[in-house]
Subunit: 108 residues, 2 copies
Amino acid sequence: MSRNKAVPERRLHHPDRDEIRLESVLSALSDPIRLRIVRELARGHDDMACIAFDLPVSKSTSTHHFRVLREAGVIRQYYEGTSRMSRLREDDLEARMPGLLSAVLGAE
Amino acid sequence: MSRNKAVPERRLHHPDRDEIRLESVLSALSDPIRLRIVRELARGHDDMACIAFDLPVSKSTSTHHFRVLREAGVIRQYYEGTSRMSRLREDDLEARMPGLLSAVLGAE
DNA sequence: ACGCTCGTACGATACATGTCGTACTACGAA
DNA sequence: TTCGTAGTACGACATGTATCGTACGAGCGT
């Protein structure tokens, strides 16, 4: 009745649009690795597997960062075979925090 | 040659405009208490003493939050008698991260 | 001179977070 | 069926952070 170990969640939890909290989004975006992920997603690579990012961290750390972004409501993830695809929730973010994402992406 | 204890810094360190980093600003704004401070500052109370905020934390914690905001470049602080006044660095933030502050303030 | 108030510094503490390695699963291909 | 690859879960660890209380300093008023 219980899975012992390392069974990946088939149901990925995503907050609803109106559950997205400003603090969580800001917190999620305040990490350089996650900012890099978001920038790459915005740079036209709309649907990317995690592996495609070539991040300077281990696989487990990478998983961690993607989860933080997903649980904050910044990205949406879905399975595609053995890969997990990610895409920015631009519309939801724009609806809840107009201008925030583009300001973050535009900075620097 | 050294001050033993609790000598307040006469020189408050503020980052220059071009030293303000996006990650630090986002991190500074991702705390509810600090967000509240920033909102109040934006709400017209341009120059406020720390005490005037009536925050739900102790004095020392309050000091901590103001320092985080100052060192991230979000506010500027200066002494006025025994009080320390704070003001938003709106121009600097706008120059470095156009639209960010208003997006944060507008959200919710 | 004396006390009052605003704020700091410091130490302690509890909790959150970023990081990793290892063991594992799920899926697709040979 | 067997293997390789993408990604997860878990435990461990170090570091960062939010919080507090206490002791103190700097100005102002009396």
